[in-house]
């Protein structure tokens, strides 16, 4: 099914009896049962005010179209979603897709100012709005961000945009072991350098990104190189191509892939147990790891892991209260269980 208006969509959901699978470009979906409800018919940027840093788009608008419209005005999505071909902005929102700049600029959910969505009973709901600060009522925007179509079909997203920084450089350190990799990143992130990306490439190499006005980037690059002296000579590279590599790691992954979020202080122990190709992002708070199908990470308290390519797995299991609240919310927003289980 492919509705071409929100009302159409609501009618289809009301009329549906079996499970539905809400999709955009299908580039971030996980396998699930149900008839496909393709939202790409609900497309188009409905408002873009660069001077207010605000863009509103219907869910089926291709991510590439959003990024192009922004680039034409010297702006971008600060949360840096990976540009999967065919991906829609609704899919980005529904999976809270966020790249390396999440470290400093926040996730997709932090840039989401408002949503419209249709619940499992066909009710059209609006939450949030289009302004930068809004505490009017509950923040269902956060609830919908990353909900993977389990609470409602997102039909429209209002986003905070950001200026494209005039200058970008990458500082690169090579030949560090795991312990020194983490120590170097922590040194960079604990000082006044305004680092907007920090990770380690799959082929090795610690990369740190600085962005901003030319003079500012130059002086911070100098200060940061000096602070990193104990870890070797930091090569300063113009641009930030290495961060595209980090951002797109999951897209290029071979075989089963784990996504592990953890405290940076836990990263060294995690890196030691990884069985294959991997990358580190968010200053050590995110690790992508390719691993054979029977491998599971041993997690320290608070850390979380999910297998995002291959047989779905989530560690640890949600606790009983979280499970009860999650089930309760799904029962409220989708009492008939129309939206197939993708969470």
């Amino acid at each position: 099914m492919r509705p071409d208006s929100e009302d159409d969509l609501a009618a289809m959901i009301r009329a549906a009896s079996g499970p539905l699978r809400v999709t955009g470009g299908g580039t971030r979906s996980r396998p699930a049962a149900g008839e496909v409800l393709d939202l790409r018919g609900l497309a188009g940027i409905t408002l873009y005010e660069p001077e207010a840093l605000t863009l509103i788009a219907r869910a089926g608008t291709p991510l590439a179209e959003v990024e192009a419209a922004l680039a034409a005005e010297g702006q971008m999505l600060a949360f840096e979603p990976d540009p999967r071909p065919g991906s829609t902005i609704g899919g980005v929102a529904a999976t809270n897709a966020s790249g390396p700049r999440r470290l400093s600029a926040g996730a997709c959910r932090d840039a989401m100012l408002g949503v419209r969505f249709v619940t499992g009973t066909g009710e059209i709901v609006r939450n949030g709005g289009r302004v930068m600060k809004n505490v009017t009522g509950y923040d269902l925007v956060k609830l919908l961000a990353g909900s993977r179509g389990t609470l409602g079909a997102i039909t429209e997203v209002a986003l905070k945009t950001a200026p494209i920084p005039p200058v970008r450089v990458t500082l690169r350190l090579d030949g560090l072991d795991d312990a020194r990799t983490m120590a170097a990143m922590m040194a960079a992130l604990s000082g006044p350098y305004d680092v907007t990306g920090a990770g380690r490439l799959p082929e090795g190499g610690v990369v740190l990104r600085l962005e901003g006005l030319p003079g500012s980037v130059e002086s911070r690059a100098k200060a940061l190189s000096a602070a990193l002296k104990p870890y070797g000579h930091a090569e300063i590279v113009q641009g930030d191509a290495d961060f595209a590599t980090l951002r797109d790691f999951a897209m290029a992954a071979q075989g089963p892939l784990w996504r592990i979020v953890l405290r940076p202080s836990q990263a060294e122990a995690m890196l030691a147990q990884l069985p294959g190709r991997h990358a580190v992002d968010w200053g050590g708070a995110l690790i992508w790891a390719e691993a054979p199908p029977d491998w599971h990470p041993a997690l320290r308290p608070g850390a979380r892991a999910s297998r995002v390519i291959g047989a779905p797995a989530m560690l640890p299991e949600p606790d009983a209260v979280t499970a009860r609240l999650t089930a309760g919310l799904r029962a409220k927003f989708d009492p008939r269980g129309i939206f197939g289980g993708q969470a």
């Binding site: 959910r109 302004v131 009017t136 009522g137 609830l143 006044p192 305004d194 006005l213």
Partner: protein
């Protein structure tokens, strides 16, 4: 202010309830029923509305909060969580049948991790003292409400509070990584995790800003940031508020992101000059713009800001050359609310509008005020469009408060009309509860109330807030029906 009629059955059982609660706490004195003492909890900073609570409980641990909530749940007693009581929306105002659970005794720092750039605190801790605990290691906690000396992290989370510097660093929800939450039935849950990510749905994101209606937050993990190398404000004076508003939009459009852009108009400037003599220029409106970095970085940004501002008929561009001059530039802004309080009673609004609509909204507010025959002063966070029109009135003049409230409602509706919202950082509370229908359709409110149904099925927790009373009545009424049975 209309509040639901108190539950006479609960009030009649007061002593028995107090005895049960005392027995559950290590310190029996943590349950306060003496009316002279509970009076201190009868209102928050929206002090026009007051009501003494049934009693006040001051637990010391998450376990005690859990025990207290479990008993209140069993006894079907309404509960109002309270941090420092600085809400401007009546969020922590009780009803006479409600138990206030005050978090003031829970103010410990539980963990500081420089490596992970986070701090874990009990939520009764004040906002400023969180930064106090980490600044020795070169960090700070970014959200900085003007009330930061007094307000508690728990209240900040419940209201999703902002501050002058959130233009760059975001509001509470963008700096909150995790929370320990006690639900109304006493169950305890850990939400969030590394980078704020929890298991599945973003429940932490919903708790933040839920105004104490979904659970009591007892512990919080907060993101801390390295202190910037330096910061410097400039003061830019204009001959009209509309021009100042247009300049804000131009700065944002240019791609420079200052940490703060604050706005004051003539009535506000005049009041603060009389109050603290900050030495502000004689002008219709001014902006205080703060940028951060090393000295050359600051210069670079200020040069660009000056170029932009010069396109807007500026009267003066006053750069700070020393810490003392910086302090004086901020002095008037920081004293603005106090200064207005000296010259008049006032009501503080908190609507947000798109930055692009600042100029015409300011003009619109002026028109509405003139029509109502009341004076309005403006002082606000301009960079993100979060306006704080202060309506001046005379509490002793019959009818003036009502005229002021009517004008306030009109101004907030104007904010919504131009694409904004009723409240940018203070919350709905009781104050804006009845206006919710102007921003949200019935289905929108229904969806929000459905969330409360899941977290607090009996609608015992701070239930008479946020939603228009008529809209939440059936749900709140169900509790009472149950009570009678």
């Amino acid at each position: 202010m209309q509040m639901p009629a108190p539950d006479a059955g609960v009030i009649a059982r007061r002593d028995a309830i107090a005895a049960r609660l005392s027995a559950a706490l290590a310190d029996p004195a943590a349950v306060i029923t003496d009316p002279t003492e509970t009076r201190a909890y009868e209102c928050d900073a929206l002090s026009a509305y007051r009501c003494p609570p049934l009693m006040v409980v001051l637990p010391s641990t998450t376990r005690e909060v859990s025990a207290v909530l479990r008993i209140c749940h069993e006894e079907n007693v309404p509960v109002v969580p309270r941090g420092a009581g600085t809400s401007l929306a009546g969020g922590s105002m009780p009803t006479s049948d409600a138990v206030i659970i005050g978090l003031a005794r829970m103010n410990a720092i539980l963990e500081i991790s420089a490596e992970d750039r986070l701090v874990r605190v009990q939520t009764g801790r004040t906002n400023l003292s969180v930064t106090g605990a980490v600044e020795g290691q070169g960090f700070f906690y970014a959200p900085d409400p003007s009330s930061q000396l007094a307000c508690a992290i728990g209240g900040n989370i419940a209201m999703n509070s902002g501050g002058a510097h959130c233009l760059k660093y975001g509001v509470t929800t963008n700096n909150l990584l995790g929370a320990t939450v006690v639900l109304m039935d006493g169950s305890v849950v850990e939400l969030g995790g590394p980078m704020g990510e929890g298991a599945g749905l973003d429940l932490l994101g919903v708790i933040c800003g839920s105004e104490g209606q979904l659970g009591i937050v007892t512990e919080a993990t907060l993101r801390i940031l390295p202190k910037p190398a330096g910061a410097r404000p400039v003061l830019v004076a204009f001959d009209s508020p509309v021009t100042a508003g247009a300049c804000v939009a131009a700065i944002i459009r240019s791609g420079i992101l200052p940490v703060a852009i604050e706005f004051m108009d003539r009535p506000c400037i005049a009041a603060t000059e009389d109050f603290c003599g900050a030495g502000y220029p004689d002008c219709e409106a001014l902006l205080i713009i703060e940028v951060e970095g090393t000295a050359p970085e600051i210069e670079e940004q200020l040069t660009l800001i000056r170029e932009i501002a010069e396109g807007f008929a500026l009267l003066e561009f006053r750069e700070s050359g020393s810490d003392e001059e910086s302090r004086r530039i901020w002095l008037g802004r920081k004293s603005a609310f106090g200064a207005m309080g000296v010259i008049s009673d006032y009501m503080c609004l908190d609507g947000t509008v798109p930055v692009s609509r600042l100029p015409d909204t300011l003009a619109g507010i002026g028109d509405l005020a003139a029509k109502a025959g009341l004076r309005v002063a403006n002082v606000f966070h301009a960079g993100d469009g979060n306006m704080h029109p202060l309506i001046l009135y005379d509490a002793n003049k019959p009818g003036d408060l009502e005229r002021c409230e009517a004008l306030g409602a009109e101004i907030l509706r104007l904010c919504v009309e131009v694409g904004g919202c009723l409240t940018g950082e203070h919350g709905v509370g009781v104050e804006k509860r009845e206006l919710m229908g102007s921003q949200y359709a019935p289905a929108d409110l229904e969806a929000q109330m459905a969330v409360k149904d899941v977290f607090d099925p009996g609608w015992l927790l701070n239930a008479a807030k946020v939603f228009p009373l008529a809209v939440s009545e059936a749900r709140r009424g169900a509790r009472r029906g149950q009570d009678a049975a």
